[in-house]
Amino acid sequence: MFDAPKTDTKLVEVNNLKMHFPIYSGLFRRHTGNVKAVDGVSFDIYEGETLGLVGESGCGKSTCGRAILRLYDITDGTIKIDGIEIGDTPQKDLRTKRPTMQMVFQDPQASLNPRMTVQAIIQEPLDEHTTLSKDEKRDKVHDLMDQVGLNRKFAGRYPHAFSGGQRQRIGIARALALNPKFIVCDEPIAALDVSIQAQVVNLLEDLQKEYGLTYLFISHDLSMVRHIATRVAVMYLGKIVELAPREALYSEPLHPYTKALLSAVPEPDPEMHDMMERTILTGDVPSPANPPKGCNFCTRCPAVMDICHQDEPEYREVLPGRFVACHHYNDVSTSAGSTAASEASDQQSLSNTNNTTN
């Protein structure tokens, strides 16, 4: 089943985005290197879709989300949101553009000011960006609370009086206050219990349907991303290794890292669990300050070849809508049909390697 994006309009266009953090060391605090948290990432997000961004901790997915909203001054690349280039806009001028793009943060405990009431928290963006009267603002806050399923009677309470799931709802209401088009959800459910996660995800889906929102959904939880995302991008060590429509990615992952990642997810069904073919990766993720030569994944890849230690694989479209950065797909040209055979043989060699690592 292929969920086509609702429209063909690109709302967000990210091109060759780089976010490097400098390392200063020694007596004179000299600039001795860079942590390449995000290192040349390109993708588009279509209007009305949810792009899932998955990866392990330290792969740069959160940095990527923050950089797109220009919470950082990016090192290189371009970011176009709703037709406006914001990659090099000074922070001062960005302020007026903020209403279209909002963010829901990971930790609802840390992202809400404990000294502000819920009313004040949700109202703050309205104070900053609108000229509504006091009463209008109050009504708007009440409406928002209704929409996210919070009792409006509690508007005068402080964040500590709410549970984790309710706090996340406050954060969502705040993000919605200015009728944004694009919301970056940075691990919005990671801090919540399983039974509460489903509530928040359903709320996000309902709001998306109602307001035609576009999400970048950052998460390390592959099963939840499968549920919510239209398309999924997989990051490893600052780069996107694979981007594909949801069903294609989960049923037939192409990149060896995606395969390993999917096979590592614990399956809550003992019988399925025993049938699964598992690829257990050895070793740890290398440091983004000192990535390996060639392909970033070459130190852990079960299907590594000589060329992987030499050249960095190109991130390219190997099948319509499917982007992969892997030397195993070098021979596959964009016109999918004619090269199906070579692709199949690649598949074969990869799954053989998987078997031997079991």
């Binding site: 901790s57 549970s163 399983v194 499968r226």
Partner: protein, 334 residues
């Protein structure tokens, strides 16, 4: 795991209460379970369900006050761990019963090298000399799959990655050949690919060393992969207990059933909309007089509000604390 073997650890009617300003929190209410030799028991529950507090209570790891163990027995090795003196308990902890904590960063001491920390239980419990302990520490690091062991013993915790630190924790817990290993969410702080490595390692070690393991987790997927038997906790109580396959095939308690439906999958059919358990977990202010799942349950009836159900045997070594019989779809006739 031999059937009918005498349990190595037998917990009956454990009750733990915390005194807080202006009241009490009844974190563990009448919890009973046993652990058979060589068995891997999974304990599943959400945060606040009492799973960690249960394990810490039975090893005397909770500061009293505020904690107060109000009742129960914990039989291990012919003695009741709740009654023995502090000295005896110290001999059990880290010796016959090993413990792995959730967060490998905060449970290792940053100012000692890991060699010192692995050698500590060996010298305290086994009376080894420094030399013997260092040889054994090296073996242990190799056992848990840390390469270059002699060098790594001199390294400090910050020089290890998260997964490697958790391996060090496992090495410490295994140091004195424990009969029982209690692992409290040992993979929750780790990435999935690293979690897969640690799960694989634990399964292998358990088979090789033949110890009994209690594995606490909130992840049903983890339990499905490694546990022989599962205990489900909710609101400070055990609501269901069964062998793993039986539990997943035939869940009885409404909470377990709902939980299995709310978790999205990577495999199989994708749900268009996630099932939700409405509401919040209970706040355990007093000793329960009703079923803790009452407010969120879709099959609750009047009896559930009047009485806290006991655990009813449903056959196949399976029991559930619910007045509603999921097999017949009728209230239980007891």
């Amino acid at each position: 795991m031999p059937d009918g073997a005498l349990p190595i650890l037998d917990v009956r009617g454990l009750k733990t209460v915390f005194k807080i300003r202006g009241g009490e929190v009844h974190a563990v209410n009448d919890v009973s379970f046993d652990l058979k030799p060589g068995e891997l028991l999974g304990v599943v529950g959400e945060s606040g369900s009492g799973k960690s507090v249960t394990m810490m209570s039975l090893l005397g790891l909770l500061p009293t006050p505020p904690a107060d163990i109000r009742g129960g027995t914990v039989m291990f090795d012919g003695q009741d761990l709740l009654q023995v003196d502090a000295e005896t308990l110290r001999g059990v902890r880290g010796g016959k019963i090993g413990f792995i904590f959730q967060d490998p960063m905060t449970s290792l001491n940053p100012v000692y090298n890991v060699g010192m920390q692995i050698m500590e239980p060996l010298r305290k419990h086994m009376g080894m000399t420094k030399k013997q302990a260092s040889v054994r520490a090296q073996e242990l690091l190799e056992l848990v799959g840390i390469p270059d062991a002699p060098q790594r013993l001199k390294d400090y915790p910050h020089q290890f990655s998260g997964g490697m630190r958790q391996r060090v924790m496992i090495a410490i817990a295994l140091a004195c050949d424990p009969q029982v290993l209690i692992a409290d969410e040992p993979t929750t702080a780790l990435d999935v690919t690293i979690q897969a490595q640690i799960l694989e390692l634990m399964k292998e070690l358990q088979e090789r060393l033949g110890m009994a393991v209690i594995w606490i987790t909130h992840d049903l997927g983890v339990v499905a992969g490694i546990a022989d038997r599962v205990v489900v906790m909710y609101g400070g109580q055990i609501v269901e207990q069964a062998p793993t396959r039986e539990l997943f095939k035939n869940p009885q308690h409404p909470y377990t059933r709902a939980l299995l439906k709310t978790v999205p999958r990577v495999l199989g059919q994708r749900e268009d909309r996630l099932e939700v358990i409405e509401g919040q977990p209970p706040i355990l202010g007093a000793s329960p007089t009703a079923c803790p799942f009452l407010d969120r349950c879709d099959v609750a009836f009047d009896r559930c509000a009047q009485q806290n159900p006991q655990r009813y045997d449903v056959g196949n070594d399976h029991d559930a604390a619910c007045f509603f019989d999921a097999r017949t779809g009728e209230p239980r006739d007891v």
